[in-house]
Symmetry: C2
């Protein structure tokens, strides 16, 4: 190896391992794109790097690859026209398997050291990645920078920290001495070798390709597996840049760059299915739809499968000090990236006779109206609203908006198209807010995107039971609730535990239920159908490697 | 809770956690049945306790249970005539689910404390359990005591130590303070609650019901799950005693005894399948046949499934200092409990042109003859051989012996019936040793029981490749090899790592490849088809619980 990246990043690694233990606030990579953090020229250099990629062949040298026209289109209104080098699924697995033999022998310090160096270089490329994320996912620039750059890198580092924590507790060897009464003890030397599972597949999603892709990528890589990264056909570029940087680091360190491969493919083909069920693939990490995630769980039986699918997130309103502050917070959660977040709320449960406030009881209509008004206020200034809402990533989300309108439910806030001052063709929509009864079937399915329901419940008890059962039966990544009553707070925590869903209580300030902080918040619990794993915990990394021992007498 | 078992056993727990980190020799429960360890009266009291159970109703108070005639028969030649209280699978899951609600809330210290107290009381009952193990599995008394008692308890404690290690790293709460430049930081309190998966099922095996059953039982119990123990119909008693003791501890501590339930059933019914695929069952631990293990992996899709199935274990002879010592060690491994151990060797690979020794080259026939002679010597004294060989547990194993004889392969050592001085009707058999070519299909399947093959290979390189591929394709729990050549030792370690199988090198003394020591040896790797998990590691426990967080501003 040409460089010992492990020693270079050892302090950072130790700090990250402390952070996952205490779960205090900590971040390795600055979330502000300020020049103070990234230098005066980084912003412009990143923009130019992105522009240089448009209309060309993505610079990735892969033996035997054929060009694939990417077909990516920015939700802000233009085509990227980038072509990517593509191997067939069979050739991808073959190349990854060839790279595995030597990568396996490199051992834990090399796996972790290379992972940490890749993360550092990804951080330096945060602006380039931000533009790539913005113009594939439709996120506004600041969100694309933060969630696609430093926050994603933090999640990757978190996975490396968990991996190292598990790897470092396997001793390399031990002298085993078993007493034999008056005779000499039996003495054996035992050696423990960490062996990776094999070839890992990371299936990227269309909305958060790096944030949701890095945990699996780095959890597998840091435990000695080789990784094939298969991006969503509409969001290839952010992961292509990631793979390019990973391969640069691998090559510089004297490893086979094919330890990390990109598997771009055209929409609608069977690349994902062929790769995921290939007998040579041992691990699959997936973020995406419920249907695709369940297909993988059913069919990729030869592999360890980690899925984050979808869910129905609920807000419960019982009692508040300040209704306007609560309504603003909820409205912001619906507006941010047009609800195209797996953590965004969908069903807002309000008791039939309203909500207690410091100013007395607010009726159901008043509560629903406060949320609708807050939505209106957040999106009134179109010049600003465009960056907050971002673009609609998928045609299916636009179609879902139409479908929701056709439900015939009373409209509390209409979804409006908004123009972006910078991007003419951007497709931007404000959230549609509908009123529904607790028995309406619409609230029992996911409406991914800017669609939410204010749901009338008999009382708070029914709301809590509904939220719990919905999480347990349909999955949920978040639950948010407002109450000033300690007994109800206790019942809410119990319901969250039974539903296996993270609870946020009384968010009225600058923290939103959508947000999940690396090193502190577990993203997903693995305890309801929304995800079979959590980002990130021991369970997420411990089964990506195995230990083979050898023993002999000394 | 009436007693804080956690504090009482805290030192033991800390010691066990240290042991799994260093993997030095350590044992919590003395393996010698000496009165110095267990007291002067323990042996006789245990025998009487066992005798008192024969011909009666097993003392277990379970609401709504119906008696089930057990049908257990000692391989030493008598029926046990014990009946057990039985609930239907549906009622078992319902009772376990009822017990779960309160057990979940008891929290990690209660789960771990109760588990440790159960283990201590199991240790006190080691003699009673030893007789129960002997007269269901056919193990000789000393093995039944050690493997069924203290060694099994050590494996249970090991699982509790891994569980506690994972549980204890989840902080109960943290104050999360995120800096906001010149403004006040965002301050949140975050609480992390460990929640169990739910109802766990332990499917016991017929040969090592406690040793193979305790890891799953205690891994699940110590992480807050309730446990249904389903013994093999021919080896109910050891697990019935275990469940009786667990329920006593639970009741004394003020918990619902139904946290641990026994699910005895008649041979050939569908209790295992119904329980394992019940939507209310979240975890399945299984030890048994390849066919049943694979059925569970395919069908118990709603659960986390941990299996130890079967494999083909290989010995490779390349070069030795002392051929007789090597042959004795191999022969002992074949003889111990008549090869009815998942770790016992089956295929003994010897190069066509023999083995280098300190006295020059020993030809193939000489090597095969040395092993056959060692088998003969070990079993010549029938009075002693009966306890070493033990009884044949299953009719299927006797039938398999006949089938092996009918292969028509050259016989190196014939299987003989042996009388036991104490038990008239015991069915005891010495190992059958056959000679086979490396291409013979017989060596590519498992022959569980006293059946082994000396296999002629072209050379050592072919032997190593065969052992590696056999482990990878058919599974293996152990690999044993003899070589004096460091380069071949290196190649063997590499092959073991690729085959995902634990390697023992040059065992010639009092350690045998069959043996696996808790806290030091990983039993199974989870890296080949013999087992999808290892006893015991972080991966074995970390996914038996999940974490649900709640956060709010302070």
């Amino acid at each position: 190896m040409t460089a010992d990246y492990f020693d270079r990043h050892r302090d950072l690694l130790d700090r990250a391992v402390r952070a996952i233990a205490t779960r205090e606030f900590w971040s390795a990579y600055p979330e502000s794109p300020s020049p103070r953090n990234y230098g005066e020229t980084a912003g412009e250099a990143g923009r130019q790097a992105f522009e240089a990629l448009r209309g060309g062949t993505f610079p990735l040298q892969v033996d035997g690859a054929e060009p694939l026209a990417g077909g990516e289109r920015s939700p802000f209104g233009f085509d990227l026209h980038i072509s990517y080098p593509r191997l067939s699924p069979q050739d991808s697995v073959a190349a990854s398997t060839r790279a595995l033999a030597r990568w396996r022998r490199a051992g834990p310090r090399a796996w972790v050291g290379v992972s940490l160096e890749i993360l550092q270089r990804l951080n330096r490329a945060s602006f380039e990645i931000a533009h790539a994320v913005q113009h594939t996912t439709g996120q506004g620039f600041l969100m694309a920078f933060q969630a696609g750059g430093p926050h994603a890198q933090d999640r990757g580092l978190e996975a490396v920290a968990y991996a190292w924590q598990e790897l470092s507790r396997i001793p390399e060897k031990v002298l085993w001495e078993k007493p034999q009464g008056k005779q000499d003890p039996v003495r054996m030397e035992k050696h423990y070798t960490v062996v990776p599972r094999g070839v890992a597949l990371v299936i990227g999603c269309s909305t958060f390709p790096t944030w949701n892709g890095y945990p699996g990528l780095f959890a597998s890589l840091a435990t000695g597996n080789t990784v094939i990264v298969k991006p969503h056909p509409t969001a290839i570029l952010p992961l292509a840049i990631t793979v390019r940087i990973a391969r640069e680091v691998l090559a510089e360190a004297g490893h086979d760059p094919d330890v990390v491969l990109l598997a771009p493919h055209a929409a609608g083909d069977d690349t994902a299915q062929v790769l995921a069920t290939h007998p040579g693939v041992a691990i699959v990490d997936f973020t995406g739809s419920k249907a695709n995630g369940e297909w993988l769980e059913q069919h990729a039986r030869q592999a360890q499968v980690y899925t984050e699918k979808s869910g129905i997130n609920t807000v419960i309103l019982d009692s508040v000090d300040d209704l306007q502050a609560a309504a603003r917070n909820v409205a912001f959660s619906l507006t941010l990236y047009s609800g195209q977040m797996c953590t965004a709320p969908q069903n807002i449960l309000v008791p039939r006779d309203g909500v207690r406030t410091a100013q007395g009881r607010a009726g159901f209509d008043e509560v629903a109206g406060a949320i609708a008004s807050a939505l209106q206020a957040l999106t009134a200034d179109e010049a600003k609203a465009g960056d907050l809402l971002g673009g609609i990533q998928a045609d299916a989300t636009l179609a879902r908006l139409d479908e929701a309108r056709d439900l015939g439910l009373p409209v509390l806030a209409q979804s409006r198209a908004i123009a972006h001052p910078q991007f003419q063709g951007a497709r931007i929509r404000t959230p549609l807010l509908l009123r529904a009864d607790a028995r309406h079937p619409a609230i029992r399915r996911e409406w991914f995107g800017p669609i939410a329901f204010v749901v009338e419940t008999a009382d708070t008890a029914q709301a809590i039971a509904l939220a719990r059962d919905s999480a347990r039966d349909h999955g949920a990544l978040t639950m948010s609730a407002y109450t000033t009553d300690p007994e109800i707070a206790h019942a809410l925590r119990d319901a969250a535990e039974e539903g296996g869903v993270a609870l946020s209580l009384n968010l009225t300030g600058g923290v939103f239920v959508n947000q999940s902080a690396a090193f502190s918040d577990f993203h997903g619990t693995g305890a309801n159908p929304a995800a079979n794993a959590s980002l990130c915990d021991s369970a997420y990394v411990a089964n990506r490697f195995r230990v083979v021992q050898a023993r002999w007498h000394v």
